[in-house]
């Protein structure tokens, strides 16, 4: 991965956040019987571990323009999280290209990887720093993070004593305090309560106004309908539909109504 400005075919604007995913495929190698002990290597030195190839993403292409709110939907196991992780540079894809311009703040798998043994205060410090905040910024934004997550009374408690809803609130509060251009959100609202969902919606509106780029993965189609400029439907690692949220959602509903859908169905491609 070479650092520096990406030089896409259309020269992505460096000031706003943009994503260009081009024909990306990703396969996981899952060992059939995980051979992770030496005994197995010694007993069967010649037998190679059998891998099951799980194709998580196949030939996925899409672009997100600067300032766009982009929704991604699809059933469980369709590759949405893998797609976000590949975009965030956490997983390495097998083929294709991923170009990202702008600072990206990921919110993946309900959080930013807290250490359950550490206090909320220490976790804010570690994860904020890992996301790129320096000492001064962290000091200035610490109170805001705590206030947004409404965890003032619990900052010196270990994270393992937090409910999953509290952890998500804290994780989201940290992720949005980074000076990001692109925010990647994976099911941020899944475990939040009503007031937190309300708060999230307010931040979405604010980010849109500020021209931030947002990619939102969710099962909440109403949210996509409300906020997204465009949407993408992922099915078995394929892009099934890409275009206006209303069309893509309609396509998703049609897909759900048809239990055994072939992947050879025509793909809706709406002009962007």
């Amino acid at each position: 991965m070479s650092p520096g400005l990406p030089s896409g075919p259309d020269n992505l604007t460096p000031c706003g956040g943009a994503i260009d995913v081009d024909r990306v495929s990703k396969t996981f190698r899952l060992p059939h019987e995980r051979r992770t002990t030496l005994k197995e290597y010694f007993l069967h030195p010649l037998r190679r571990t059998h891998y099951e190839e799980q194709r998580a993403l196949q030939d996925v292409s899409f672009r997100v323009e600067p300032g766009e709110f982009f929704g991604i939907m699809g059933p469980n196991g369709s590759g949405k999280s893998t797609l976000l992780k590949v975009t965030a540079g956490i997983y390495r894809h097998d083929t294709g290209t991923v170009r990202v311009s702008g600072l990206l703040s990921p919110f993946i798998e309900l959080g930013v990887g807290f250490n359950p043994e550490l206090t909320a205060r220490d976790n804010i410090r570690i994860n904020g720093t890992l996301l790129g905040l320096d000492r001064r910024q962290l000091g200035a934004r610490y109170d805001e993070i705590v206030a947004f997550s409404e965890l003032e009374r619990f900052v010196d408690q270990k994270l393992k004593n937090f409910s999953s809803g509290m952890q998500v609130r804290l994780a989201y509060a940290i992720a949005i305090q980074v000076d990001f251009d692109i925010l990647l959100l994976d099911e941020v609202l899944a475990v939040g309560d009503e007031s937190f969902q309300q708060k999230c919606s307010e931040t979405f509106t604010r980010f849109r106004k500020d021209g931030k780029t947002i990619v939102l993965v969710t099962h909440n189609l109403a949210l996509i309908e409300q906020f997204a400029d465009r949407a993408l439907l992922l099915l078995d690692g394929h892009v099934q539909a890409l275009g206006a949220p209303g069309d893509v959602i309609a396509r998703y509903h049609a897909q759900l109504a048809r239990p055994a859908a072939g992947s050879d169905a025509p793909v809706i491609k709406a002009a962007s």
């Binding site: 650092p3 990406p6 992770t36 030496l38 997983y91 702008g102 600072l103 570690i126 994860n127 790129g132």
Partner: protein, 278 residues
Amino acid sequence: MVEATGFLRAPRTRGIRHRLRILQVIVLAEFKLKYAGSALGYVWSVVKPLSLFTVLYLVFGRIFKLGDISEFYGLALLIGIVLFSFFSDATNQGMVALVHRESLLRRLRFPRIIIPTAATLTAAMTFGINLLVVAGFVAWQGIVPRLDWLLLVPLLLELYLFTLGTALILTTLFVSLRDIGQVWELGAQLLFYASPVIYPVTYLPPWARDLAFLFPFTQVLQDVRALVLYEDNSGITVTAPEALGQFGRLLPIAITLVVFTFGLALFKRYEPWFAERT
């Protein structure tokens, strides 16, 4: 084929200063965590090597009378135990670091090397506290510090580099082969008895002595002992040049650099897949 992938990040996330800041934040939090919640806290970091020292001193120093060799046998033993405890703790904690922090690896993109490095640095902080205790005993013995003790700095750096290199190899292997945990538990124990921690290196037959000095830990240990304890009585303790020839120190130093470079290369080679394989 994977074509060029560009990531434009804020300069400070890539800068060395910010990486050091990340290390500092993680190391301080983990160090605090290690001793928080126990009644004696930091005292435990000193109790462990000191109790091991007491047992070994009574058995080997008194019963087997190794203490008769030199008035400094006890201190030499203590220095050996403290140095080896660091090597053993740092490599063990570095080995499991990636697997223990897998939830972080799967959620954020950052240089993975920070995780095992932070684990070895946390062990280095305990080591620092232990060194203070050693310094106390050295002062108690009436040994006066000299200017050439500054050579301790490059010696300890060499030990750290060797330790970090070993930890990087172990942590990369541990991701896909969990037995490495058992292997290294045994390996570290064998290395402890194979190194001249308890017994003088001169007790070994010449071939074994030369072999022992190829282990960079032995070279560092003997140099530290010679520097701190045996300045006036050269001949009592043997350092690498006496065993391996005039430039004998270069050999273990070269091995240190090879282990570190290999560990770094191995780690970098598998870094892109740590997130999905831990």
